[in-house]
Symmetry: C2
Subunit: 433 residues, 2 copies
């Protein structure tokens, strides 16, 4: 602790913050032999200057803390989610260094700063810029960056202990099982690592993923990525409940940031974990759920209400009351049937049916159109939970959901989300040594 640090001067010394590998990523493969010691003009690297009018905002959320941001943070309107695979030759040291580089850059980006102090235009003119520059002039825009580790990081598909970290794999971190009606496409599922970027301005989220991907050059590369808009959950009481592309309010009964007891019980990993490095973290599940919206749009209003178990206008449970009234699963109509139908989404997903809860953070998506004239659209589902078993219990219950006629789960992924990095530290340091 008291050791003297090596002198950072000299032609090969990295600039503070990013590792030599991280800086190489910014230069690209072709420039690997270029002189890294060339000092730039070191202009101030703040992105936030003249704000654009792009829906961005000056609000910012700190990167460091006991939990990672982007879980209970009030849900921003725009998502860029990316899953990464480590390169085959990567080692545990490479992973540690990459997580340190990402932590350094993320702590800057969420403040509305460029990826390094030199940024897009403050470096030497004869080197590629450190920052790609498309967020110059945009404010922090409430950006959060949330990082996760997939099961394949610990054991490859052949079961091999690829990084010598298999003993650090949490017992709960296993690929999700196949559920009823799953039509999972492997190319947009799984991943060794993930980054969830949420922001008030999509350009700010895209800029973050792009620059973090660049830093990873030679160590990890994007496996799949997804843009989303129109958050389909709230995590604070102050936010109005948004609507999904079925036209219904979504996320009414979500776990909220104000409910500390529910967060402890259902979201944050505690002392029960077999891996100390995961305490204070969470487990992240993503599911790309394509909606056959043209078929849905032909369903009668009353039937739509019965499939969901709520009314399309207010989002009120069919058992009565307003949007936030408790769902009365036992109530029967005068004809004897349940008012909340037995195959309704709200009944099958309800804690009274599943025995558990999750924190949802999904987004609507539109990926253009299908070859047969339909919108290629749906819900990019994201949930956080103390154990993936909570998601599995709910998804298992939804096997009987009448909504299944109108949706297809086409991607699936699960990640261990470590706790937040301490001030001056990096993510998942407890994973190593």
């Amino acid at each position: 602790m008291e050791q003297e640090r090596p002198d950072p001067a000299g032609p090969e010394a990295p600039r503070p913050g990013l590792s030599r590998r991280g800086l190489l990523g910014l230069l690209g493969a072709g420039a690997a032999g270029a002189g890294l010691g060339v000092a730039g003009g070191a202009l101030a690297g703040a992105i936030g200057g003249t704000p654009g009018d792009g829906g961005g905002s000056a609000r910012s959320f700190p990167f460091h803390g006991p939990h990672q941001a982007g879980i209970t943070t009030p849900v921003q309107d725009h998502l860029h989610f990316a899953a990464f695979d480590l390169t085959r030759s990567a080692t545990a040291d490479d992973l540690r260094e990459l997580l340190a580089d990402w932590s350094y850059a993320a702590a800057r980006l969420v403040q509305g700063l460029e990826v390094t102090p030199e940024g897009a235009v403050g470096g030497p003119p004869l080197l590629p810029p450190d920052d790609t520059g498309e967020a110059q002039g945009l404010p922090a825009s409430g950006l959060t960056l949330t990082f996760g580790l997939g099961p394949t990081l610990f054991r490859g598909e052949d079961g091999a202990d690829r990084l010598g970290l298999a003993h650090r794999q949490p017992a709960l971190l296993e690929p999700l099982p196949l559920f009823a009606f799953d039509l999972i496409e492997k190319g947009i599922s799984g991943g060794d690592l993930c980054i969830q970027a949420c922001a008030d301005d999509p350009q700010v989220a895209v800029h973050a993923i792009r620059n973090l991907s660049r830093i990873a050059f030679g160590r990890a590369r994007i496996r799949w990525a997804q843009l989303g808009f129109g958050r389909t959950s709230t995590t604070t009481r102050a936010q109005a409940t948004p609507r999904n592309l079925f036209g219904f309010k979504d996320g009414t009964a979500n776990i909220l940031a104000e409910d500390a007891a529910a967060l402890e019980e259902f979201v944050w990993v505690g002392e029960e974990s077999d891996q100390a490095w995961m305490r204070g973290g969470s487990y992240l599940v993503t599911r790309k759920i394509r909606m056959t919206i043209e078929n849905w749009d032909r369903v009668r209003l009353q039937e739509q209400d019965e499939i969901i178990g709520r009314d399309k206008g207010e989002g009120a449970p069919l058992s009565g009351g307003g949007e936030f009234a408790p769902v009365d699963l036992a109530l029967r109509s005068t004809t004897g049937g349940y008012v909340i139908p037995e195959d309704s989404h709200v009944r099958l997903a309800h804690p009274g049916t599943t025995g558990t809860r999750i924190l949802r953070r999904g987004y609507n998506y539109v990926d253009g159109s299908t070859g047969i004239g339909q919108l290629d659209a749906g819900l990019f589902f994201i949930s956080y939970q103390r154990s993936p078993a909570q998601f599995a219990a709910i998804q298992g219950s939804l096997a009987g959901d009448a909504m299944n006629e109108y949706i297809r789960h086409i991607s699936s992924a699960v990640f261990a989300v470590p706790p937040g990095a301490p001030e001056g530290g990096s993510l998942a340091e407890g994973l190593f040594g």
Copy 2:
């Protein structure tokens, strides 16, 4: 003009506004035999209630007027663009009816209203809702809807006069030629019709395209569609110049709404048109331009500046001055070469080189990732001009652009954009009869 209108009562009478076919679209094929005369509860169909916090805004732009909105309108941050093909069996009457239905619905949508007065929840419970409902609670959000007609609407690919409207085809409305380096994918190019939806909230733009597509059921269907964000142009002096995904300011020298003379000269179709129905309209060109951003990001800052002809920080021309300083194409450096390089984008696109100008209205896009770990991203270029020849002159000049190493034009389309619909009227009425 003075004729008495037929009595709209009776079981088969359409509700005011949408044609019977348009209403059938809302019900879908399966419901074609259902009783249309069943009157709904006719609740107020205003979408704007409790605004979400989705970046939406209360501002609205009128649908009716001498020119269509969405051309000189201050550029909103989000785009959903869709191209449609007429069904094979469609007639000129079908087209006329479709344009009337679209005009009726568009005039409502841009006010923040639902697609019909019955909307998502005000109709009969035993019929599918008229409106899909995902914009309930969202304000108008500055939505504009701009409609265009493609060359294939007049003559099919076999040259046939498919609707009996070939004599109404403007001479200028021909498919664009192939340009240098074009790698056009047919499935995301062309189209008989198009709708450009721009809004402050992507959910509002998506809602509009989806509901207009639904109304078209049986008459036209989506051929291709594209989402965009982070407008890459301004059309008013009040807006800051945004940045494209090369990290450079884009649209600095655009034609602005305040410049009436330039609009007359370069954007609005005038008396010169061989088709009276196009006067006051414009021609729309779209080009999906994929950027190989990972390659671009490895280019030295100085070389990036020279490829563009402006500096990456301020967007100032390399010939000197601030962002809005005139570009001095003649200026030479002390070593004798041009300061604005001969193969720079700004020189080759400059009116001093091309002899013409266009009004640009493009957007950034990210469509996930490629199979080789790169972002599938770029610029969805949109321009409006008095003649497609203006675009062709500029694009021809850009054959020598040094930027071509980092971009690929993968889609192309051209549409005739009729003038705005008069109050109480529909788009392109002059095309018929």
